[in-house]
């Protein structure tokens, strides 16, 4: 155990975690030059394409230091706030953390939230000032920021460039010297914590864990404490670039287990693995994933419902944080109401359905979960506008609030405060981190930041603002259900629950946006927004006037047929509701309101 070091790499988005992981893998000879590629651990297509990390990745490295071989277990974590629970579990599996800070950007919101998470778990923090190769790097200023944030000595901050390979040896030495070896009792009952799971189409679900006490052996009968399910450890091993089967994994180490699990839902990140006949207590800090945003997902072709279900089930194998249940919409037929960790997560799910499963889907207006409180105090959870009870049957509505931390330059404070006020926020605190960097704390309704808040924040701070948030509870609000009608028919998939003071503005802008997004058709289309029976906004899409090509002789005929066949295919991405064809993207129009 003395020769093991478990650490994770944490940082704000894009500060260079995965690139640093690349350098560590190379320096330790874990991967040879031939297999090397940028952000090697980001192995999902989507991660590679978008250049972001979506889930944690663990890998084991061997490092020889002063004649002694050390086992280093590294976990690269995602930076985006949607995945913060996953980061917290990765942190819980380690004794130390490399806290990366971009030397040009300085400390940002997730730098702080991830640092706090790491400190909560008593992790040894190794601050790394990354990207010092950039001409815009400000090493002195940012080092000062780090020093005052962590309260460390300036000499503790390692100056590095993951891109240029500067400072890598210093980082490896610091890992050996500064991060404590894991402590754990081999004699105690097995206690291991799940921090990740991956679906392998041939072998079922692979579960990644960290052993705290005891040891796990191949063939052991084990139990997952929170789900209560028991399994046999068919195969266990360590996570090199390829998996390496082992007979035993002892306290202090990180490994994987394959035990014939077919259903992703059975594997909950944060759950505890123990022996069936000699169980331990559960590791603290386990939570069921809490979806923040809900939306309906429907096939564009109604006949593809079963296919969509099968695809969602497969997707869930890979992504246990995606939850869903069947739902029906008057406008769209059969589909699913899904819960997501946030908007990025939702986008990723939609994109994966389209790319990996070749499904064409409609995602309806995203919503947060509201609570309708009845006069006797009972709570009805509302995950979709259609579930909103009639106002006279309930006492009031409550909506989820968050505490948001925004870090920015002082020159943008004014802009940001007015944005947050506009979003019904209350400022709670304002702290100067340095002479010009400020941390603002707000309490805001979650529904207000779901859509375009982050983009707005970026724009009005010229990119110098970062956001982190956590849920703090439900509060009473006057929410109303806003409906959209096309040619007089209500399209339930376009309904939304909005604050009464904003309903008029929302309805007006949504109607305008729909007018842009719905193409002209053979008939004029009336677009109306209403609250109850009251129409609050209207627009119209004029009827198509002309759609006919002039010439059609001899050779034109083939060409024209192909053109029209293409035109017809384009219609397939539209959904017919009543006599109106609605393009897929119109259902997401709310996301583009500005």
């Amino acid at each position: 155990m003395e020769q093991i070091r478990n650490f994770c790499i944490i940082a704000h988005i894009d500060h260079g975690k995965s690139t640093l992981a690349d350098r560590l893998l190379q320096s330790t000879g874990t991967v040879n030059e031939r297999d090397m590629q940028a952000q090697l651990l980001d192995d999902m297509d989507l991660e590679r394409e978008r250049g972001i990390t979506i889930k944690s990745h663990a890998i084991q490295m061997d490092y020889v230091h002063e004649g002694q071989t050390y086992t280093l277990n590294l976990i690269d974590t995602p930076g985006h706030v949607d995945f913060s629970y996953e980061v917290s579990r990765s942190i819980a599996a380690c004794e130390g953390a490399l806290l990366i800070v971009d030397a040009a950007q300085g400390i940002e919101a997730q730098t702080i939230s991830n640092l706090y998470l790491a400190l909560e778990h008593d992790l040894e923090i190794i601050p790394v000032l990354n990207k010092i190769d950039l001409p815009s790097a400000m090493p002195e200023e940012v080092t000062d920021e780090i020093v005052s944030l962590i309260g460390c000595d300036p000499t503790d901050v390692i100056h590095a460039s993951a891109k240029e390979g500067i400072g890598i040896t210093d980082i490896l030495e610091a890992i050996i010297h500064r991060i404590p070896a894991p402590k754990g009792d081999l004699q105690k009952p097995l206690k291991a914590m799940i921090f990740d799971s991956v679906f392998n189409p041939f072998r079922g679900i692979e579960v990644y864990f960290r052993v705290f006490d005891g040891e796990i052996n191949k063939g052991d009968k084990v139990k997952f404490v929170n789900t209560g399910k028991t399994y046999e450890a068919d195969e266990i091993g360590v996570l090199k670039l390829q998996q390496q089967p082992k007979d035993t994994i002892k306290a202090g180490n990180v490994g994987y287990i394959i035990s014939g699990i077919k259903v992703a839902k059975e594997v909950k990140v944060g759950d505890t693995i123990t022996h069936v006949n000699k169980p331990c207590e559960a590791v603290k800090g386990f939570e069921n994933v809490k979806p923040m945003v809900f939306a309906g997902i429907y096939p564009v072709e109604t006949s593809e419902f079963e296919e969509l279900r099968a695809s969602m089930e497969k997707l869930q194998l890979n992504d246990a944080s995606l939850i869903w249940e069947p739902e029906t919409s008057a406008a769209l037929g059969f589909g699913f109401r899904c819960g997501f960790l946030g908007m990025l997560h939702m986008e990723i799910v939609q994109e994966r359905l389209e790319r990996e499963f070749d499904m064409t889907v409609i995602t309806t207006v995203p919503s947060v979960q509201f609570h309708a409180v009845k006069s006797d105090g009972t709570i009805i959870k509302i995950n979709a506008p259609s579930e909103m009870p009639e106002p006279n049957t309930i006492s009031h509505i409550e909506e989820p609030f968050i505490r948001a931390q925004i870090i920015t330059k002082d020159e943008f404070i004014g802009n940001i405060i007015s944005l947050c006020m506009d979003k019904r926020g209350i400022i709670k605190n304002q702290v100067y981190l340095t002479t010009e960097r400020v941390e603002l704390t707000f309490e805001l309704p979650l529904s207000e930041i779901v859509f375009d808040f982050f983009d707005k924040l970026k724009t009005l701070s010229k990119g110098y603002a970062s956001l982190d948030y956590e849920l703090i509870g439900f509060r009473q609000s006057t929410m109303v259900k806003l409906d959209i009608m096309l040619n007089g028919d209500r399209v339930d998939a376009l309904s939304a629950i909005v604050h009464r003071d904003k309903a008029y503005e929302w309805g007006k802008r949504l109607c305008e946006k729909l007018r842009e997004l719905i193409p002209r058709q053979m008939f004029e289309i009336a677009i109306q927004a209403s609250i109850g029976t009251k129409i609050i906004a209207r627009e119209s899409v004029k009827a198509m006037r002309k759609n006919v090509l002039a010439k059609c002789y001899g050779g034109d005929i083939s060409r024209k047929r192909k053109l029209l066949e293409k035109q017809k295919k384009g219609k397939k991405r539209m959904r017919q509701v009543g006599n109106v064809e609605i393009p897929q993207e119109a259902f997401m129009a709310v996301l583009k309101l500005d």
Partner: protein, 343 residues
Amino acid sequence: MTVALCEEIKLRQNYLEREPINTVYFGGGTPSILSKDNLSSILETIHKYFSVNHDAEITLEANPDDLNSEKLRDLYGLGVNRLSIGIQSFKEEVLHFLNRAHNRKQALNSVSEARNIGFNNISIDLIYGIPINSHEDWENDLHEITKIKPEHISSYCLTIEPKTVFGHRAKMGTLSLKGEDFEARQYELLIEKLKSIGYEHYEVSNFCLPGMHSKHNSSYWKQAKYLGIGPGAHSYNGASRQFNVTNNHKYISSLYKDNIPTQQEVLSREDKVNEYLLTGLRTIWGVDLDYLKDNYDYDLKKLKGSYVNNLIDNRFATLDANDLKLTEEGLLLADEISASLFI
């Protein structure tokens, strides 16, 4: 080139299975540059290898500036009995805008000269939707028709094709079309005017005095077989469509070796149905739903019944004796409608 054309005619003498020919059409590009001798040897070759009906329609496409009285006399003498003249507009500015070589005077003269010589079946082309042409300008253009009364008029909306002068100008942002509403209005003006002076609107872009339909073009829309000769020409034999190479040099050198430089596309049942719909709906003859059902087992009433009913209820189409025909309103949306009715 003429030798190559004659060679292709000879090689393909059996293409139409020796059925008599009703129409001959010299078109695509500028066939009027052919000399009298060239034209005569091509016609001779056609007569040699095909049986051409004595009252066949023989059309030649020409620009007004090519048609002096000598040329017209030659054509008439060779048996050409129909002219399709690319007049496009009677307005100098518009002709200039369209980069045409002729002027207003030549446009008018070409028609009157042709009449003097004896041509009694003349078609002219007109273009609408031109950005510099207001609705009033367009109405003035149309008014000229009353003076020359051609037997037939084809009128097309200006389109911008990539890799043309217009395409380039559009890309540079110096030219833009006026859009759907503007074009639709001019199209309506066209129809109103021509109908009011006795023309029949028999296809989206084609109008004629009673009985003077273009026999040749109509046969394309009635799924007739046709043989196209020359580079880029298309042919159809009822089952497949052939298209020749477009490159003149390749065309000639291939025929020199007795090879017809053609590719073919076999039409599937779907292709045939879709082509029937798209061409038929453009004409006053419409599409025959029984024909579709009997020949292709495509029961439009059953498969697209509610759509068809909707068209009829909203006066985009009529259905009589199982012929589905588009109204003038429907014709404006012919592409949208036929795509919706495709298999």
